[in-house]
């Protein structure tokens, strides 16, 4: 036993991180490598895998449906995330002030975030229904025209953005609120003494004070939004047609419905590249701030 203890003592710097390294290898490195290998095969599940080299990649580059998926992924992400940032910032600033019932309001605003995505997606799907849904009922009682919501090509992604925004703005608010509370109150007092307006102190004190938190929130949300699956699949299945089919939804269909495991793996490599690239870019921005 003594020798084992000696061994651990001597190599503690290797032994202690070992479980973490193992977990990373088993849960992240191995699947990514397997996925990469799979992407070089033509593998129709149930049949025999055939090695085809880069053929899946050349096919994907010429596949209009893949480009449609990439376009929709970007459209969804870059509409949803800025909207959520704006709303989240607003909520954070509001909640940074003292008002009656603040603790309760803060809890309530977090509810969309903690609800199960599939469950809320099912509820939203019901609300979007053009004939029976409650959203059209509201529109009508306000004297507005009924909308087709997700049933109309041009409105499908904006409607999904609405759901995503409803669900995830609170998370941005939460991150920014923590940052806001770290901005020294003295700065505001000094600004007030110097005669700065509310806008001026927001622009010159609040924003710079939470800039790095904003970038962190942007990274987390963008990465998450790029690979959004549950709400899109449950509400529209990528439809009407392929109007809201993101790369992730297309990869799911390709792999688990059409059984082309190799091609699905290729699409996921595309998605992973996009996610990594955007995370990298945002990280550069973060380091500069």
């Amino acid at each position: 036993m003594k020798s084992a203890a000696d061994f651990i003592d001597r190599y503690a710097r290797y032994v202690f991180p070992l479980p973490a390294v193992l977990a990373i290898v088993v849960l992240i490195v191995a699947p990514v490598l397997t996925n990469f290998v799979l992407s070089t095969y033509d593998y129709f599940v149930g049949g025999r895998p055939i090695f085809i080299g880069v053929e899946n990649y050349t096919r994907a580059f010429g596949d209009a449906r893949v480009w449609n998926g990439i376009r929709n992924t970007f459209y969804f992400t870059f509409t949803a995330v800025p909207l959520q940032l704006l709303l989240g910032l607003g909520i954070a600033v509001l909640f940074n002030r003292e008002f009656f019932g603040r603790p309760l309001a803060r809890t309530i605003i977090l509810l969309p975030m903690v609800a199960t995505p599939v469950a809320i997606a099912l509820i939203w799907a019901l609300m979007f229904n053009p004939s029976l849904g409650v959203l059209n009922y509201f529109l009508e009682s306000l004297g507005l025209e009924r909308s087709l919501w997700v049933a109309q090509r041009s409105l499908a992604i904006p409607s999904l953005v609405l759901v995503d925004t409803w669900q995830w703005s609170p998370m941005i608010a939460l991150i920014l609120l923590a940052a806001l509370q770290g901005v020294p109150i003295e700065h505001y007092e000094a600004a007030r003494i110097d005669g700065a307006s509310g806008w001026q102190s927001f622009w010159h004190i609040t924003l710079p004070g939470i800039r790095s938190a904003i970038v962190v929130a942007l990274i987390l949300r963008s990465v998450d939004a790029l690979k959004t699956f549950d709400i899109i699949y449950v509400i529209t299945e990528g439809g009407p047609g392929i109007a809201s089919e993101t790369l992730n939804v297309l990869a799911f269909k390709t792999g688990f419905q059409f059984f082309h495991a190799g091609y699905a793996a290729t699409l996921l490599i595309f998605l992973m590249t996009i996610v990594l690239a955007i995370a990298y870019l945002l990280n550069i921005v973060r380091r500069r701030t």
């Binding site: 049949g47 053009p130 004939s131 919501w149 090509r153 439809g239 047609g241």
Partner: protein, 432 residues
């Protein structure tokens, strides 16, 4: 009739000696002690079957293991086992309309004609012809059988008798042309005239009824896509016009759940969807009173090629690698016997035997027009509600895109041409 005991005895002795002289007679206990394993989908039929398995074991002395999984998992496990050639799996539940082409192509299913032909292996009261024509034909390949059906479903026209009366319409529409006229007469701003599925791939299982009734097919004689044919174009044009003119808003999002709830909530006067959804229309928690009280059922109205509904059939088949095909066949015969099929039907599963549907006890439990319309559909049914190719889901997806495009008003001939080309590419890709 008075039966003379002595004469009966003499006759029985004669028959017995005759049977013994020619062939061994059917004996339930012949495979006593054999172990068999069946893989089952977590389906109402399985729920019905599981508690009865000890009855079979007591009758035959065969030990049965049922492995039951939820549908997605069931399909994945089944394909793993059959493709590996594992010989410990003796039989499984199967939907030929879904995987028939794939399983037959890979020789994963054992044909059962030799078993049926052998009177020592098949119970005398099996009566294969008692299964609905549409159900049995699903398991036919070049005149040979590869399994027996356990349940059959088809789609029906659900319509509101009270609205028909108000509009001065008589009885259900008999032809698709009449259906269009009826839909026009019933269509109101607050209530659509007609609805059926429109959500891409999910709609194909319903629109196939129109495809067949217009004389269309999935494949042409050369095995290439027939979706661009004249008949297929007419079917899709009819469908798209019907839903665009008299359907609810946003037809391209309609799945069965939307179709049935619109109807149950009095938002549409007629729908066409699976007959099993009668349960929704009879449930006070889901359907308005006016719907529950006035719903009637009719078979698919006839098109230029007649009324040709697609039928959805589940059944039992024997694994190609099974070491105990006879014992597995015993289990299938017993599970699908006449008495058990009545029992199945009474448990709420649409059994595949006509005699079960004729049972008086059952007839008292369901509306006569629903039973009648269902039975007629089962007899007329065409088994391929899915394309008879290996990559079923991908082809449905391609056809689904054409359906959505047609609902959005795009040119039908053009979108079907694209779908047909895509379908050929898909089939070719999966087959290499």
């Amino acid at each position: 009739m008075i039966v003379h005991p002595l004469r009966t005895l003499a006759l029985a002795t004669l028959l017995l000696s005759f049977a013994a002289a020619t062939a061994q007679e059917f004996d339930w206990e012949r495979y006593e002690g054999t172990d068999i394993r069946f893989m089952m989908n977590r389906h109402p039929f399985t729920d019905w079957l599981e508690p009865l398995v000890p009855e079979f074991e007591a009758l035959t002395g065969i030990n049965v293991t049922l492995e039951v999984f939820p549908e997605d998992q069931f399909r994945q496990r089944r394909i793993l086992e059959v493709s590996s050639g594992a010989s410990t799996l003796d039989g499984y539940m199967v939907m030929p309309g879904q995987v028939g082409a794939q399983y037959l192509g890979a020789n994963w299913i054992r044909f059962i004609d030799d078993l049926i032909a052998d009177p020592s292996l098949t119970m005398p009261e099996l009566d294969v012809d008692d299964f609905f024509g549409g159900a049995l034909s699903t398991f036919e390949e070049d005149g040979r059988l590869y399994g027996l059906p356990l349940q059959i479903e088809s789609s029906l026209l659900f319509y509101r008798e009270d609205l028909f009366e108000q509009a001065g319409l008589e009885g259900p529409p008999e032809t698709l042309e009449e259906l269009r006229e009826y839909a026009a007469a019933l269509d109101e701003p607050e209530r659509a005239g007609f609805a059926m599925r429109g959500r891409g791939a999910a709609a194909t299982s319903q629109i196939v009824n129109l495809l067949y009734s217009f004389g269309g097919e999935w494949l042409d004689a050369d095995g290439r896509s027939a979706l661009a044919s004249q008949e297929s174009q007419e079917a899709l044009r009819y469908y798209a016009d019907l839903l665009r003119d008299y359907g609810p808003p946003g037809p391209a999002t309609l799945h069965w759940a939307e179709v049935t709830s619109l109807y149950a909530q009095d938002q549409v006067a007629m729908i066409f969807d699976a007959n099993v959804f009668r349960s929704i229309m009879e449930d006070p928690a889901q359907a308005l009173d006016v719907v529950r009280e006035n719903t009637r059922y009719a078979p698919l109205p006839a098109g230029p090629a007649g009324s040709v509904p697609g039928v959805l059939v589940w059944g039992l088949a024997i694994n190609h690698a099974s070491q105990n095909p006879e014992a597995a066949w015993y289990f299938i015969q017993w599970a699908l016997s006449k008495e058990n099929q009545i029992d199945t039907l009474m448990a709420g599963v649409p059994a595949a035997r006509a005699s079960a549907w004729d049972d008086e006890q059952f007839q008292a439990t369901a509306p006569a027009d629903w039973i009648d319309a269902s039975q007629r559909s089962f007899d007329m049914g065409q088994p391929f509600w899915n394309p008879p190719v290996v990559p079923v889901a991908e082809v449905r997806d391609a056809y689904g895109l054409a359906i959505v495009a047609a609902l959005e008003g795009q040119d039908v001939a053009q979108v079907l041409q694209q779908a047909a080309e895509e379908m050929d590419r898909i089939v070719e890709r999966a087959g290499r």
